[in-house]
Symmetry: C3
């Protein structure tokens, strides 16, 4: 990354345009008094710069930036392209995104534009150019945010501009209609295209029975569209920004290649972190024990994109639009807990959303630090406490996150599983199951995207990899993993491995397809499990592994060991889990999905290490994070439940909050945190 924070820094999202100008100075003073030294502004304020087409005004932000300089406040400036002015969408309705039925999303919300409209691209380029020209050299500015939450609200695009761009994308990728028809398997159901003009983004059809290969390309196309829209802005900002200032955007949203975007267009990656969605009133999940900690799955993803990232929006109050997403106020201690969790996972900049709850609009319930009444409150006191702690843990900044193993993912399979329910039914549960198993067992893991250029280098650092369901694969990926295993790594693969190629077609190969030489297995039969039979399970030397949802019935090839065998249905006694030695390493092939229960026995078989066993013993509801820098190790302890937690430190540790040395039994308060130097 081109940019990394040198010190832990606290920021806040601020909307000068929402408040009387008389409040600005007082607001900035109070922020600084509470340890907040950066504001993120302007990301929805197009009208403040171009109130009518082609008429540009600069006074408003000039006054604000000058005041920031005067007060010593630093500014991250947002480009305003997430909310086109009414004068654009009224005059140029072709800039709007549509529903699949072709009904445009209208003015009044946000992100209702499409990435591909030529006129919107032109208007966006111009406003970004104008803003960059005006403010990039301002001393208060330290960085830039492109748009706001790309692909949030929706990552499906159906406008005419998208159909046109989709045709161009396909034409560039496949060259001829013959190759296109081959790649999309259009001979099925007589779908053959005989003219490029016959191709559209998905339009309504009966039962949503789309061509899955077309859907996969459409997903790739959306990612391309999003990334090129982002790069269009980044290129302008790069020309204008001061040396050392950074370009970022705030994620993390699906349907786009966040890794490539960050690598190609950004200097650092930022992430918006709202753990309280876990307690949204419409959250139907019955299990509460890991509920808000589940947000750390997003932190692992953010860390995968950028190991030292920013949190551009850290929840600081109850959230909700006027019509949805209602969640209760964070309990005392939770703001600190969540912010410290962000830091533990690699965030060096924590920017709270927002300074003061908005008095108007759809987000009057997306509460900020301050409430409508603008008075000191428990949330501001907690933020102040946090920024003080943040200073005390300064030595940790820049330390590396230590993980026990790595989980492999890639965008092709994610995109394919968006449409293909047979794929999705195995992918999502495995990601959830592995997360919960690892969380409860204190086995932190990294996520590595195997489709990124640095994958080989990254995976080499881990003794164990789980690639739950590489349904789609190619020789390059298999080769990369072969090298990893031959060099001594252990690779774990789940059911449905390798039955599709990069177009989502099923090659005429025994499963697991290209992986067969690695797994040493042959899948001659496979099935969803059925409610007509007892729950599927396998026996692994006396340990019961649940094997729900889908079962590959595995035939081990010569030399491959059987570790577990199915115990139900017509394939009782057949292999459910095998192990094959390849070079210095091993490949385990599991015939089902990974769950919170079966993942740990499988992982344990690999000998994966618990990083904390010599350091600390803690309940499974306490998250432990180990960081390392210049030979020193740091331990984060995060107590998620609203009750005390008893932990035991096996070695003397220095509490960075207080400077005290701790050892033996220690009590964490409800929602409490500790950061220890080992």
């Amino acid at each position: 990354m081109a940019f990394q924070w040198e010190n832990y820094t606290a920021g806040v999202c601020y909307y000068p345009e929402h408040w009387p100008e008389e409040l600005w100075a007082g607001d900035l003073d109070r922020m600084l008094q509470n340890g907040i030294t950066v504001v993120r502004v302007a990301e929805f304020a197009w009208n403040k710069c171009e109130p009518e087409e082609g008429v540009f005004t600069y006074d408003f932000w000039q006054r604000f930036l000058d005041l920031c300089s005067e007060k010593g406040m630093q500014v991250i400036f947002g480009t305003p392209t997430a909310t086109p002015p009414a004068w654009i969408t009224e005059k140029y309705p072709e800039v709007l995104n549509c529903s699949r039925e072709g009904i445009p999303y209208r003015h009044g919300c946000r992100r209702h534009y499409n990435y591909n409209s030529p006129v919107y691209r032109k208007l966006c380029s111009r406003i970004v150019e104008k803003i960059a020209q005006a403010y990039a050299k301002h001393p208060a500015v330290i960085g830039w945010q492109i748009d706001n939450e790309l692909n949030c609200e929706t990552d499906e695009f159906y406008s005419d501009a998208d159909s046109q761009a989709f045709r161009a994308y396909l034409q560039q990728k496949f060259g001829t209609l013959e190759k296109l028809n081959e790649a999309l398997g259009t001979v099925f159901w007589n779908q053959t295209y005989t003219d490029w003009s016959q191709i559209y983004v998905p339009r309504p059809l009966l039962h949503g029975g789309y061509n899955p290969h077309l859907m996969l390309e459409w997903r790739r196309f959306i990612s391309e569209s999003c990334l090129s829209f982002c790069e269009m802005q980044a290129a302008i900002l790069r020309r204008h920004k001061k040396p050392g200032d950074f370009i970022t955007t705030n994620g993390l949203f699906a349907g786009m290649d966040n890794h490539r975007m960050t690598r190609e267009s950004l200097d650092t990656y930022a992430f918006d972190f709202y753990p309280n969605f876990a307690y949204a009133l419409n959250n139907a999940s019955p299990d509460t024990s890991l509920r808000d900690r589940w947000a750390s799955l997003n932190l692992i993803n953010a860390r995968s994109v950028c190991p030292h990232f920013s949190i551009m929006e850290q929840q600081s109050g109850a959230n909700g639009w006027a019509n949805r997403l209602e969640a209760c106020a964070p309990r005392p201690g939770q703001l600190t807990l969540w912010a410290m969790q962000g830091i533990a996972h690699g965030a060096d900049f924590i920017s709270f959303f927002r300074w003061r709850t908005c008095r108007i609009g759809t987000e009057i319930y997306w509460h900020g630090i301050l409430d409508y009444d603008n008075r000191e409150n428990r949330k501001l006191r907690e933020v102040r406490g946090f920024t003080e702690k943040m200073k005390k843990i300064a030595p940790v900044c820049g330390a590396a996150f230590k993980a026990s193993f790595a989980l492999l993912r890639d965008y092709d399979n994610e995109y394919d599983a968006r449409f293909d329910t047979w794929h999705r039914r195995v992918l999502q549960p495995s990601h959830d199951g592995i997360f919960e198993a690892a969380a409860r067992a204190h086995l932190p893991y990294d996520i590595i995207f195997i489709d990124q250029p640095d994958a080989a280098e990254k995976i080499a650092q881990f003794p164990v990899l789980i690639y739950p369901h590489p349904v789609i694969t190619d020789e390059k990926r298999v080769d990369l993993l072969k090298t990893y295993v031959e060099n001594g790594g252990t690779l774990i693969l789940g059911c449905r491995t390798g039955y599709k190629d990069m177009q989502g077609q099923c090659p005429m190969l025994p499963q697991p397809g290209l992986f067969a030489p690695l797994t040493g297995t042959d899948v001659q039969d496979f099935t969803f499990t059925t409610f007509a039979e007892p729950d599927s399970w396998a026996d692994m030397d006396g340990t019961a592994l649940d094997t729900p949802i889908f079962n590959d019935i595995i035939t081990p090839l010569p030399g491959t060991r059987v570790l577990a065998r199915y115990q139900e249905s017509y394939y009782k006694g057949e292999a459910a889990l095998t192990e094959n030695t390849v070079g210095k390493g091993k490949v385990m092939h599991f015939g089902s999905v990974f769950t919170k229960d079966n993942t740990l026995p499988i992982l344990r078989h690999t000998g994966v290490k618990n990083l904390f066993s010599d350091i600390c013993t803690a309940p499974e509801t306490v998250e432990m994070v180990l960081r390392e820098k210049e030979g020193k190790q740091y331990l984060f302890l995060l107590n998620f439940p609203n009750r005390e937690a008893e932990i035991t430190l096996h070695i003397p540790c220095k509490c960075l909050y207080t400077g005290d040395t701790l050892q033996g039994p220690v009590t964490l308060s409800p929602f409490g945190t500790l950061v220890l130097e080992l």
Copy 2:
């Protein structure tokens, strides 16, 4: 009101156009023989008067009205504007209402028109004028019904005509775009309007994330549109009708100011009463004990609009369209029970829907008194029994309903809660909870709309008011309540009081905002309750008050007493219910919603009187209603369950059905009723 029935009167809805003309005379004779002296006709019969555009025919209704005169039947004549002819909607599709997506609702159902189409207004004015000219002087006619069930089927309007009228409405209200933008808080998400033409009624946008201030104005606009459509017709009818004849319409539907409509355009208000929706097959409510009695909430509302009202449609059979709303046949006794409940609450005219079940169309299952076979049946016998009882209770007619307390409502808050889920989540449960608590405790109440001109006068008659959640308020309303309290009244307010102004914006004020001087409280923290914690509750001197859904954490100002304190979550021990003395009165501030359980302890604290304690003791499932006229009191007893009820009369009472004097234990039959003179 300009019109009040002098005697209890029974009517029926009749559709001469559905039946061979040979049946008319026999039908009218049988009605009269069974005590029915009024028919309501013609409200869907546009084609009978204008079979093609500009061609008017008068014979059909002339013959029918003449026959009515001959038989001695009185007629309420409906204007036919609820069902435009096919020739209108085919030629002028702009008269149609649309879905939010802009898809018109087509010919074939009813109420598919919009209120604002100029051409529809012109065509409606003309047909009403023609009908009034033709029949207003007819001696059989005694009154007029405007349209049918205004705002039924839908109270959301999305046509182009609505967008144009909405712009005009906003322009008139706000004058300039600057003021409009200020009022609608359009600076949020860059929504600023720079031309009136950019404004529309709600159109599709992502996640329905609308501007709540715009939605509030749209709701007000719909009410305005409906009322002006009604007044357009009323003005014509007023010019033509005979002295003493009345103008009414039949409600009661949401999304419109029924009070103002009645005050400005009608001579009396009519209400359509279908208690059996409580037993519709798709009714998912699990609790059956107060099920059809819940309909009396509608009666309280109707009484609020007009203390002596009419029931234009009284359920007289199973109901259902061919595709929905299926409910079982009323059980023997229920027709009488429901009709008597209507009378108890203030209805002086009971018109059954309908004479005979329709043989054709969508409502073949909206059963009338007679079935398809046109034979005498148990329902007709029950109607006859009812009309006989009705004559015997004649002295009650015009007596005043006695209530123990009043519930305050207003349209601004109702409209706001239609879109704002944070608002709706507290408003609806409190209305339901208060109703059930009052019903079970025999504490009848009135509903008073504080936004109506007679509010001050009305509230002065009650010792206790509950205004559950005046989220939206202004100084005028607060002043009105201040005067009430200073003069000795007790005002009870719930959570979320006073955090919005009349535009639905949140002023920069400590909560409860303008109410703070009355409540003597400060709300510094507040939260939805969460499933992550035990159920919220408060202790009130040993009585447990459930405090679900939302909790304002109340800080009492000096002088304010704490009546109950929360017992869970981080605000355990903080005030949940307080009492402040203001002048001769008191203001109680409750930090949560009102439920069937917590309402009664709170009400009891006020010393509210049970009107029946010296008169009668009855189970909670028996509704008791007290009426008073010229020094005499009348008691209605209504037994809702299908089982006998034991009651005890503490004083001698005269049974108006039989003339007998009753005292001591009395048994009410299943679904049985009694009307007693005390």
Copy 3:
């Protein structure tokens, strides 16, 4: 029927266009080696014959057909009209069907065309003509399939072409607008049409509150449209086909008169049989004991259309589109079980779907016999085993199915119940209840459509008929049943009998309307049952009959016996089941719906015969089918659960699989089958 298979024949669905031409010969060889002698091809391959408008190519299929001749493979050739090429739907979007909102269903799925577009009819006629000209004389061809699964995907049509054709249909049927208005009851809600152009197929309206008489005609119109589209193709094929070759299509789908289509346009009927939908992952039905056997309800229907039918698509693997309908793989034995069930019910040709699982497109999970890997597998082995068994049971081919009683149905009532929920709520449960009761009691039944010309002849063969809810009826049907009863038959009728005429209007008659002379009853009161009361039931001489959903309260006329009386609600003691003697026969009138519990006591009262009592005793989960031919009887035993079944043969039987003689206790394996000669 013009065509009947002389011997049991096995086929397979094959898609030469999906595979490299090099695979064809090997595929055909393997099919023949496994007992498959017929392939069905070409039904989605328009582009292989007309790759652009008006350009016809014949090489592809010529090569394939020649190869078939060479190998000795027979071919059923499909017309390709279910999937129009992209060049058609792009150039002529008017050929597309639409959603009710008017949004076209686009290219990419199948069956997205409408039956009434003149241009589509012209293009279809031409391609069928060209194909027939080219291949009809080819020696490999033995039959033709028209289109694919007519009315599958949807049987609702909303295009402009449909509206225009609907007007023509109504004009032809009713002649004048006056008669149309009368028939559709348009006086209700002022729906009167004053010009034919005002009439449309259903368009969006509020709450879906359609005119039920219009909806009934629209259903009839859809059937007409479908049948005339089919006949258009059949007429062409008839001109070209070789003598002895047959024309068919594959069903069985709702919303069309399958009987008339078969009679008028086809030589034999074919049916697509997918029992595993019973185990689809989204199947919410809790009861598993008869789950896949429920598919035999479809077999009874298919037998009703054509006693000796074909199964054009027999499930041979897990099924599923990429986005829906996921079901597990058939368990070993189920392929044989299901295929034998098809044969038991009258299928003489079993064509498996499909030879090899498709590698591409929406149906990559609609698994064929072979999997993607093209290797021998357990499914192919099972098919081979089946075809061997099929040869051994050859003597059964052509034998007649023996049923204990008949169930009456008709299209008018089916169509009416599609829209009318009061009708549907009784019809569907009765069909399900009767099926389950009969299945468990080993009482096989036939379905007879009373609206077909052969109804009188067919019903005369049965001692007992159940006509559960002839809501719609006319004198002709009643007369037909009167004759049946007078000649000694027993007719059982359920609730809601006879309250509508052929237009779905309710005549002014005592219920059961025209049936009253047969039932000897009068229904003066009726009601849905309600959750406010205990479950409704009736006592039949000590046997409790459940009487859920709806209750006709029956008054027996003089001479009519009461067999059961209601025991709950206000009609306790009233008749629930009566019996009237008419001529030599009897009519039973039941006031409720037929359920799995009440059907058997009612049937037993008629003395209906168990065909198996002297032959075999088997558990209720084993289906028994008796076939008869030339004085010989054959018994099929089908064991549906995944466990052994103990049966007892009371007479010596010859096992056609082995030639052994069996008698006394016999064990059926899980999913096992036996075919015995008695």
